[in-house]
């Protein structure tokens, strides 16, 4: 698996070819060194079509589409703050006080596309898109019009993660049944109790 062209070069080529597109390089610190490109929703389909059709890249084969769930995270950090404290003697005094501050990082859902080139025999190029949140705005543009191999896999990400792919020709549940309400691959999914027949057989 050779990565013939670096992510920096791809990013530059992408931004030159699709005006206004915003891409961000996400480093991968593992030994695999498969870095990825985070792209915006608005230009995603044009970027994908460029990656597929560009003569140097020719990423004609979209191998793997994965959904990933990143729930809300709470980061706790200790910060030193200056505070005016009244001493037991009744004097006001400025002191350094340590305070724990909690910041909420909102969660999102992610779709990861692993692209290869059958013509040029290189890859993988990893493309990512992120939803605004995990609730009502869990929407992403579908890349099925560019690569048909995404058809079933985007349906699967919709089925198991609840990512709504806009522009998908046939977005239905694929592994779970119609009428099933939840998204079983999300990190906060609670499966029904084993003896709860109604929840399963509905």
């Amino acid at each position: 698996m050779t990565q013939a062209i670096s992510v920096e070069e791809i990013k530059a080529a992408m931004e030159a070819a699709v005006p206004g597109c915003r891409a961000e390089i996400l480093r991968n610190e593992s030994p695999s060194a498969q870095h990825s490109l985070l792209i915006d929703h608005e230009h995603a389909v044009n970027v994908a079509a460029f990656l597929r059709d560009d003569m140097a890249l020719r990423l004609d084969f979209c191998s793997c589409v994965s959904g990933v769930d990143w729930p809300d995270r709470e980061i706790t950090e200790k910060v030193k703050v200056k505070k005016t404290v009244t001493t037991p003697e009744g004097e006001a005094q400025e002191q350094d006080v340590e305070e724990t501050r909690k910041t909420m990082i909102p969660g999102f859902l992610e779709a990861v596309y692993h692209l290869f080139s059958i013509e040029k025999k290189h890859g993988p190029v990893v493309l990512r898109m992120r939803t605004v949140n995990r609730g009502g705005d869990a929407r992403l543009p579908s890349l099925t019009p560019v690569w048909r191999s995404a058809e079933f896999q985007e349906r699967e990400a919709f089925d198991l993660y609840g990512i709504v792919f806009e522009g998908h020709p046939d977005l239905r549940r694929i592994l779970m049944w119609e009428g099933f309400a939840d998204y079983p691959m999300r990190k906060d999914y609670v499966p029904p109790a084993e003896d709860d027949v109604e929840a399963v057989a509905k």
């Binding site: 991968n28 004609d60 059958i118 079933f152 592994l175």
Partner: protein
Amino acid sequence: MSAMVTRVVLEEEESARGVEGELLEISMGPHHPSTHGVFRMDVRLDGERVTRLKPVFGYLHRNHEKIAEKASYLAAIPYTDRLDYLCSMTNNWGYALAVEKLAGIPVPERAEYIRVITAELTRLQNHASLIGFLLQDMGASGTPLMYAFREREKILDLFESLTGARMMCNYMRFGGVRVDCSSEWLEAAQNIASSFPQFLDEYEQLLTGNEILMARTQGVGALSAELAVNAGITGPMLRASGVNYDLRKVDRYGIYDRFTFRVPLGDHGDVYDRYMIRLLEMRESVKILEQALAAIPEGPIIDPKTRLRGLRPKAGEAYGRIEGPKGELGFFLISDGSTNPYRYKVRPPSMINLTVLEDMCLGRNVADVVVILGSVDIVMGEVDR
């Protein structure tokens, strides 16, 4: 046909298209001998011709990915056996390769050879069985399938003596393999490799020039190279459409760069080509087996420093893929630094190969649908996960 037939009146469509015959909607499956497990196709027929076909699956879904995300890296290996339950060895390898990429684990040379030997034996028994099933679907009741199973049984016996299990081998580990093979075992493998071409000759004499087989398969279910690439079709099905893409040559994973073998390609992309490609690939697999068995060195089968239990790869991600008998089998892993994968995703070749089932079946009749599905080579354990 034992499939359930529901007659629906599609009056609007009938009058719009001006058809004389009746439009039928048939649910083929899920319990039908031709569907290779529990698989259903919603087919709309105009007389005998297919005008729409939607595959429906998920009957065997057990959320394999979630199970693996809750288990340690080691504990996921036996679950991979149950993906494509005909090919547990290659499933193990695909997963082990992804973990090795994620954590940077080296593999000793002897283990690499054993992996190639077991993987090529797996390919032989998978392709032989597939041809048997395909002929069964065409109505050649019994004989071709039993000939294939006779050969498959020999290979499964070999797997049993090595791993303790015929089908659920649970054999490979990241960093190597679980147990070493004896010289007697290698000799037995050599016997299978040397006698296999004889079986192929016999099989071809029985089938390849057969008039019925040619009439039922030539020009049926043709798939163009452009559509095959765009729809992510991989494995023998892609190569039958004439696209030269075999990961053993492209990625050269493991030690495949040390062996001389060819990649057979088809011309028409029809069912006949898919049948022929598998026969030719078996001959190439035998070549690889002969070379690997002749060159296998002594040595360790796993690096003693490899942490199997409690492996904690540092945060990051990796996508690893191999050329499985059915196509590109990929595993995508994300680690958050803990003992179990944060994200574990399987790229199942037989599910993605179903993407073009409708395109191949449109305009054909029902009997052809059965043959076309048979030539895709699906195993529901992998499609549904």
